[in-house]
Symmetry: C2
Subunit: 224 residues, 2 copies
Amino acid sequence: MIIIMTMNKTISSMRSKKGILVVVSGFSGAGKGTVMKRLLQKYDNYALSISMATRSPRPGEVDGRDYFFVSRDAFEEKIAEGGFVEYAQYCGNYYGTPKAYVEQQLEAGKDVILEIEIQGALKIKEKFETALLVFVMPPSVEELERRLIGRGTETPEVIRQRLSRADEEAEGIENYDYIVINNQLDACVEELNQLIITAHNAPIRNKEFIQSIKEDLKQLSKGE
Amino acid sequence: MIIIMTMNKTISSMRSKKGILVVVSGFSGAGKGTVMKRLLQKYDNYALSISMATRSPRPGEVDGRDYFFVSRDAFEEKIAEGGFVEYAQYCGNYYGTPKAYVEQQLEAGKDVILEIEIQGALKIKEKFETALLVFVMPPSVEELERRLIGRGTETPEVIRQRLSRADEEAEGIENYDYIVINNQLDACVEELNQLIITAHNAPIRNKEFIQSIKEDLKQLSKGE
């Protein structure tokens, strides 16, 4: 029974050790940034992908923390090299997700978190079918409104833009894998962490493992 | 600002309170039965669906616990009434999932667990797009082999049938939402419980909620 001897291996040890790409989007004001910051503080199996941008840093923004701020030329060179997972232009500026960091971290077994709006999220899902898309919601409709409309101090034009963006985001929610409600920070962080752990068990993220089980069964059928 | 006043509701309170249908399949010998028994003992938000069958009870099987054993006439009458979620024939006997119990329990907010083989699982997924399909694996390939091939005491015909069934099951794994490995009973039960909790957060299981968010945003756009 040589076949059985060579297959003395646990099924759990055969599962994929690679990290997964987690895209986090959500309505403005849902508190995505705070949730992700806490998630990264709490667990060391996550890596945060930082976008590259050609716009100027705003007051308080730090290069390498908020964005990697680069010139238009540098950005376009990187596009030409195929160096982005996804990129897009808004208001005349480029924004993109550098590919090398994401791939290195995934290979190293880290789950890579990416905060990105819906258009980018859908592009990611096209390229990485194993990406996990999570949509963060604020705790109440009232809160959502407050964040969008403000307290009467915003110009009608700013409010119009925010509402139109929220509308666009809402239209895309069905494309996300999960909705997380940021009701209470720690609970939300735990829920997000658990979602990501769970996502590792989906067959789509274990194709090699499933293939090896199928081959073992075929070998068995032959050996028998 | 009447619009804001009427929308003072928490987002979490708007989410679906209905249960979800959880289909559990897996290789013979993966320990599905034990896992589900423990899950139901440990948590009271689950309900176990019991299949109806026209075959005779085997020694030790109890009517209403293992199956509801009924006559062929009674089964066919129920088919005619549309009383099954799914049914099939094996070796000249009918097996089916009675619809009324499943629907009552889901309405009552219970997650309904259904142990069923792959053909039935796929039929369920066609009818209930929100069903969650979980595939349970034994802890090792060696263990899987032992369960399939036995210890040399089975007839070649029995082994051939088991292997062919396992092959068929393996071909269908990609259709499941999650794989759970029954490495250690309590850990497996916890993982299954967590998977089910997590599944409630998928947009596909929160369509009304998403619709209401979209409508709120549209109202806001008009009101503004």
